[in-house]
Symmetry: C2
Subunit: 240 residues, 2 copies
């Protein structure tokens, strides 16, 4: 049965096995196109195709001139963990990741207060983080905290660490995912054309049963995919 399978799948499955089993650790080099043709006795098309599929799965990452390497796997992690890979992934492909962090003075936000389970008129601290790749903004995160946790003098990028230091243990994260911006408020920062689809993630960090921070993450659709796939021939919608 494995005989009738596409040739490139043999390569994909063998390399994937080596990666998932830990034989190839993150950062380890993957055989090049030429090496694959020799090792597996396949054509160049199949080798290239195999690498493409693995890259598309997020298992490896390629760089012109340098080769493919095993990648950390943000694709299988929740969004808030995947986001933590932004900087490392940008570096991995030679891009310069930056982010602006701007913390506003505290004010009352009844809509946010509901999410934070606090009194409607309690002031919250707003932090806006614009993630950029080579200067181009590609992601916007707007984070809100009760003022008791942050009076506006520090940024929220390391919220987990800091709150951990305060003796609060973050136990879970709630994410609501929408396919559109609820309001067109913040889209100016990302320089999106009107009516564009975005992925909107409303995220709340909880410590026990108490929410300590909530945020809205806005990512244009061409930058995030929540792909629902099934095994072959449905699985890789692209290749089979």
């Amino acid at each position: 049965m494995a005989n009738s399978d596409p040739v490139y799948l043999r390569v994909v499955e063998d390399l994937r096995r080596q990666i998932t089993e830990g034989l190839l650790q993150p950062g380890a080099p993957i055989p090049s196109r030429h090496q694959i043709t020799r090792k597996y006795g396949v054509g160049e098309t199949a080798a290239r195709h195999a690498l493409r599929v693995l890259a598309q799965e997020g298992l490896i990452i390629g760089r012109v001139g340098s080769g493919h390497r095993v990648r950390q796997r943000p694709d299988l992690l929740p969004l808030h963990r995947a986001q933590a890979h932004f900087s490392t992934d940008m570096h991995a492909i030679g891009r310069r990741p930056t982010c602006d962090v701007k913390t506003d003075s505290a004010e009352a936000r009844p809509d946010i207060a509901i999410r934070l389970r606090i009194a409607a008129q309690s002031p919250v601290t707003r932090t806006r983080i614009v993630y950029r790749s080579d200067g181009k903004p590609v992601q916007l995160a707007v984070s809100y905290e009760p003022v008791v946790y942050n009076d506006g003098t520090e940024d929220v990028t390391q919220v987990a660490h800091r709150l951990g230091g305060n003796g609060l243990k973050l136990t879970e994260v709630t994410e609501h995912v929408y396919a559109r911006v609820p309001q067109p408020v913040e889209s100016d920062v990302l320089d999106l054309p009107a009516g564009v689809h975005v992925l909107h993630v409303e995220r709340t960090h909880w410590a026990g049963d108490k929410p300590v921070e909530t945020s809205d993450v806005i990512i244009p659709c061409d930058q995030f995919r929540l792909v629902y796939t099934l095994p072959a021939p449905y699985g890789d919608l692209t290749n089979r």
Copy 2:
């Protein structure tokens, strides 16, 4: 600048624009490989590549012998909406979707009671749904409801409709996403090898501030991707 762009991107962008702008409605046929080579004056490789990229984005779906068509877009929807497309998507590619629904008699489940915000000893109704594609199980959903909503005599597949009929309006859905099974309990149904990665979604349907149903959805990783991508050349990790 558009001159130095890859040729296949011209095709991708033009077709994508037509789809997102609604010129090509879901179900509409996409030009074939040959037609693309003629219309856009590109080679067959570029045409194939363009179709592959659009398929990988979930915008179109291909079928051998029949061609590509504009697809519904479950990829940009929350998981619980994407799941609703299981049956239609399976049909679209000529697979036979089935699902077993089994509802247990009610018993007390303190762990679930916490999620449903009910008393620890209150009985809950458990419903297990095994989604199959051509008989092969590809997805498992275990759903729990307070017995007040379901005494075990009906299944939960249409929970939204039924509760809507009861005068309850479902307002939001909470999803917690994990990269591994918390317990190895249910994995036997899916016939997964030990230690395999799965996407575990803990989902709760709320009516106002009252949870009415909670479920665990378990999907093997090769069947679901939460792909974190950025624009070219990072965007399509596979092709550029």
